[in-house]
Symmetry: C2
Subunit: 385 residues, 2 copies
């Protein structure tokens, strides 16, 4: 519906706005006349607005930056895990308006769709123009091809959610969605390539190269989890010693400390103990930090991308042992190579749902039709009611 240039303009303003036309010309490689022509329909329809950004002191005519109209629409994002739904409402830039975790009672597609609809409605955010859903597994064209933790195969899940909520639903793999969020609105904004590593219940991995998330059949499989990182660590459920899963997942870290202390401790308590100086917890956290550094180093070495975004609910160990992580990266990296830029997304679980919302936002941009209808980003009135 949008031409390539129109879509590029919409994305650039969404990601980098407020932004002047003159900066857009260099960023998009278009001439000033083209910018005027392209921006007009967006302004006419009220999708974009011109800000009155009065003189900043420099000479010349002041800029009239373009921005997305405030309050244009809201979006919902839902990450499905085996036990719960993590649900967010965001604005058009994926800024959080509300976040909630609700337990998941049913596992069948129709039941999950119903619970998603209830949870999104319960956020109490109006004017939701789209909902994004992400989960671990293989996803294509709105269908869940394969989701092991729910035991789903070839489920047309987007249309189920769409039918329940009455707004367009978008479906994506959870790691691809997270990578998209970091690329558009997150820590990776403006960086052409980076790896995304998440630690939590499992190890997640995604990759951005040349400003594009690598979509691969591989994305749903969790290949990063079994990279060998040490020879002394515990054994993961697949039988590898010292692999990423064994060294870094919350469960494995908690189990190691529990064994050392002879009492059950959970991951959060491990971090508290380590921060308080408990030697057993500190040792495990230090080992994990070294393993994380090795994983980052291998990933950036083999992808040729000298930047990494760390995220996930288990990333709390990073602040406790940042020096160890950086030392391990440096040890596995050629000193002539660029230093690795590390970005840590400490938002935990909500980062996943924010990723899902980003997918909904991206799809909404692609649905804009400048030649028809009313407020294109918004659903029919009362759809969520």
């Amino acid at each position: 519906m949008l031409s390539d240039s129109e879509r590029a303009l919409a994305r650039a303003v969404l990601i980098h706005g407020p932004i002047s036309r003159s900066e857009l010309t260099s960023r998009l490689g278009l001439s000033p006349p083209s910018l005027t022509r392209l921006a007009k329909p967006f302004l006419d329809r009220g999708l974009l607005v011109e800000l009155d950004d009065r003189s900043d002191g420099s000479v010349g005519r002041p800029v009239r930056p373009l921005d997305v109209r405030p309050g244009l629409a809201h979006f919902a994002g839902v990450k499905i895990t085996g036990e719960a739904l993590h649900v967010v409402a965001t604005d058009v830039r994926a800024e959080l308006l509300a976040y909630q975790e609700v337990p998941l009672h049913r596992r069948d597609p129709a039941g999950v769709a119903t619970e998603i609809a209830d949870a999104v409605r319960a956020l109490g955010v109006d004017r939701i123009a789209g909902v994004g859903v992400s989960l671990g597994g293989a996803v294509r064209d709105g269908r869940v091809e394969f989701a092991p933790f729910l035991d789903w195969t070839d489920v047309p899940f987007a249309q189920l959610v769409e039918a329940e909520l009455g707004v367009p639903a978008s479906l994506e793999n959870d790691l691809v969605a997270l990578a998209e969020a970091e690329r558009w609105f997150g820590l990776g904004r403006g960086i052409p390539g980076f790896v995304v590593i998440t630690i939590g219940a499992g190890i997640g991995y995604a990759l951005v190269v040349n400003g594009q998330v690598v979509h691969s059949r591989e994305a749903g499989v969790g290949l990063g989890g079994h990279i060998p990182l040490g020879t002394t660590g515990p054994v993961c459920h697949a039988g590898h010693r010292g692999c990423a899963e064994a060294m870094l997942t919350s469960g494995s870290i908690a189990a190691q400390v529990s064994a050392a202390l002879q009492r059950p401790v959970d991951h959060a308590e491990v971090l508290r103990l380590a921060a308080a100086g408990d030697p057993a917890a500190a040792t495990v956290v230090d080992e994990a930090a070294t393993a994380l550094g090795r994983l980052v180093a291998m990933a950036v070495n083999l992808t040729l991308q000298p930047a990494a975004v760390l995220a996930g609910e288990g990333i709390g160990l990073f602040p406790l042992a940042e020096e160890r992580v950086r030392a391990a990266i440096a040890a596995d990296r050629d000193p002539r190579a660029e230093p690795v830029r590390l970005f840590v997304d400490e938002s935990g679980f909500s980062a996943w749902a924010r990723g899902a919302a980003t997918i909904a936002i991206q799809d909404a941009v692609d649905r804009i039709d400048l030649h028809r209808g009313e407020q294109e980003l918004l659903p029919t009135r009362g759809a969520l009611a």
Copy 2:
């Protein structure tokens, strides 16, 4: 000089030709009228020709495939190592016409340029339209920014070679050039993404994602070489035990077998001994094969690209222990993931020079001017004389 569509057409015919206009429409996303219009100037100037590909049995009007005019031009490719020049002459599709290795006597830029010019002329191939030069190090815009093995810093080497030979010279990092060759004319043709791993005097690594070679400041540094692959192997010159360099380079393999046999053997002899069943050589080769498999598995896991091209002068060990390599890959890979497609370029040293020639070919395509001059791909008469 060429528009985007013209360049896309030229590249598609070069890479996939002979190819019909109708197949080009779907490949380039253009309409039949556009194909007619775009192809005409190429045909008029004699750069492309229509083949008389008589009826293939199917119904309908027979196709008139487009192809590059036979014998349109030749290209030279030169790979510089510390001790020698590897020089090839090729046709426009980087098919080898001649190959020669000549020892390098001088190390200064002007001297190397002179020896390159002599070596290219000595090939005795006429109508050379461009020369490509590749070497290990950081390269940009025809300048060698940094080449440790020659001790060069910021040398405008392309213009030196151009002045010596009188034909356009192109300069590129050796691994990027090799990856470009595999992508356009080699084993990776038609595959959207793959990793390139070379073994020989060193370990080389390059990456193709979304049909594009990843150009990175990192490319010249050799980051793949110190990936840890085993705990039992020898120690590399940087002090890592069991890293890719220690396990896989020709020198390290020869040294291990020499130590075991108490006499000096070179890499070629190691392969002969291993093939003949010598236990010491076979053990070292098997260990190397396992390490190679681990390296491939890690690279494909972390780049999300389920294909790998293996090349380099040390790849002779692959046929001897292919099963070990594949077993090692499978062991480090999730069984749910796609099987890794392995391509082995056994052309040894000439693959490097062919990569350099590919860079010259790519640059020649970009130099085509349909609105001026005579035979654009060819240099002024007698330039090489």
